[in-house]
Symmetry: C2
DNA sequence: AATTAAATTTAGACAAAACTAAAAATAGAT
DNA sequence: ATCTATTTTTAGTTTTGTCTAAATTTAATT
C-alpha cells in the first residue's frame, strides 16, 4: 500500500464513498488538488486491488476492504493529532499537516502504543471521533450550533471546518471545545446569533455557527 | 529533499564520507542493497544540489551542506529511537525499522518537542551519540571491550553491531548498557574473554567483545 | 430525438528512482 | 608498458504517479 493509494482511500472515505455511494473522479480530483485523469488511473489500480468498486463514467466507492484500510489511516491520523496536542503542546491548528505525514508510518505496534500512551482517546483535537482498532466509530448525538432552537444550549464538541483560519478565529474569540454555549437570539436578516458563553454575551455570524458542533443538554 | 536523497546522504555519512573522504559507488550500493549504477545516478543528482562532491570513477564525499543534512536525519533517527524505548516500551532491537520511517517526517517543531519531551538525551538506545540541533557530536572516550587490558574494567556504553541477532544475544545473556564489566582473562587461542559482570563470571567470544564499547574506569 | 455542454476517459509524455546490459576507465600484475 | 580483472559509468527500460490534449460518454435542453 503506497502513500498515494492511502491518500486516495482516505479522500474517498471523507467524500462519503464509505457507504457504497459512488464518488465522481472530478470530486476526488478537486479535493486532492489533482487532475481527473490522474484519479481515473488510480481508480483502476485500486479497483484491481479490490479496494474500490469502479464503474467507468460512474465513479468509485470503497469496498469493505477499502473502508477498513481508510479507517485505519484515519485512526492513525487522529491519534497522532491527539499525541501532538497532549504530549507535545501543539495547538489544534498546527497538527493536521504533521499528522498527514505521520499517518503513513507503518507499524501496528507503534500506533497501538501511542493509543495506550494517550489512554485510548475517543475524539481528536477537532472533536472528530477516532475509529477503534476494529474500525468502529464512536457515534455522538451532535448538532450544528446554527440548528438548535433559541434558548436551548449545548456543549461545544467539534468543528465542521477545521481550517487554520477558522481555528485561529475560534482561539481569538475564546471559543473552545468543552465550552457551554446558549443561543439567546437569532437575527432573521443575516442569521447571526446572540450567544452566551462563560457568562459573557457575544454575537457570531451564521458562518461560524454553521461550523460548530454542539451536544444539546437541555 | 526526497526520502531517497536523505537515505543516500545518511549512508554516505555512515561510510565515513563526512570527513571529505571519498566513498566509492560500489561501497554505497552494497550498504544500501542497490546497484552501483543507481548510485551513480543519485551521485550526479546530489552533486548538482551541492550536497556531495562527486568525481567520476573516484567516488563521493559530503559537502558541508551534505554533512549538515545527514546529521539532521541521524539526529531525528536517534531521537525517535529513544522515544520508542523510553515512552512506548519498545525493546532496543525493535526500534531501528520504525525509526527509519520516522526520521523522514518533516517538521522541525516536532523533533524539537520530542527532544524536549525526552529531556535532551545525549545517546540513543544503542549508545550512539545524538547530534545536537547545530550538528555537534557528543564525543566520548570509548574502547572496544576486546581492546582493554586484562584486569581493567569499564562500563558498557554502546554496541558497534546493532543488528537484531546481536542485540537479542546480549539480552539473553543479560548484558546491557550501564553494566560494569571486568576483563579477568584472555584466551590466546581464540581471543575469547573471561569476564566478570554483576558479580558473576562468564566467557564471551572475541566476536562479542569486538562489538561492545566500554568506557574504562580504572 | 437531436444537439450541445460538461464530465470522464484514453493516449501519449514526463520525472523520479530503480534496473540490466554494454561500454569505458582504473588499478594490479607481470 | 601492456594486459587483464575489476570497478564504474552510460544507455536504454521499467514502474509509479502525475500531467496535457484529444476523444468519448453522459446529461441537459430544446
Amino acid at each position: 500500500m503506497t502513500r498515494s493509494e492511502e491518500n486516495y482511500l482516505k479522500t474517498i472515505f471523507h467524500l462519503g464513498g464509505g457507504d457504497a455511494k459512488s464518488i465522481t473522479t472530478n470530486a476526488i480530483a478537486e479535493q486532492m488538488e489533482t487532475k481527473p485523469s490522474s484519479v481515473t488511473d488510480m481508480a483502476k489500480k485500486l479497483s484491481e486491488k479490490g479496494l474500490v468498486d469502479y464503474v467507468r463514467y460512474q465513479g468509485v466507492s470503497l469496498t469493505d476492504s477499502g473502508v477498513k484500510t481508510a479507517l485505519s489511516i484515519i485512526r492513525k491520523h487522529r491519534l497522532w493529532e491527539v499525541f501532538l496536542v497532549k504530549k507535545l503542546d501543539f495547538t489544534w491548528d498546527e497538527v493536521h499537516e504533521v499528522a498527514e505525514q505521520l499517518e503513513h508510518i507503518k507499524s501496528e505496534k507503534l500506533i497501538d502504543k501511542i493509543d495506550e500512551l494517550l489512554d485510548f482517546p475517543k475524539y481528536d483535537p477537532h472533536g472528530d471521533p477516532i475509529p477503534t482498532k476494529d474500525g468502529k466509530f464512536q457515534e455522538r448525538d451532535e448538532k450544528l450550533l446554527s440548528e438548535i432552537p433559541i434558548n436551548s444550549q449545548g456543549v461545544c464538541v467539534g468543528v465542521k471546518d477545521s481550517s487554520v483560519p477558522f481555528l485561529k478565529f475560534l482561539d481569538k474569540n475564546k471559543i473552545a471545545l468543552g465550552n457551554t454555549i446558549k443561543v439567546l437570539d437569532k437575527e432573521d436578516f443575516d442569521n447571526s446569533l446572540r450567544i452566551q458563553m462563560d457568562g459573557k454575551e457575544m454575537r457570531i455570524s451564521h458562518q461560524i455557527a454553521a461550523n460548530l458542533y454542539v451536544k444539546k443538554n437541555d
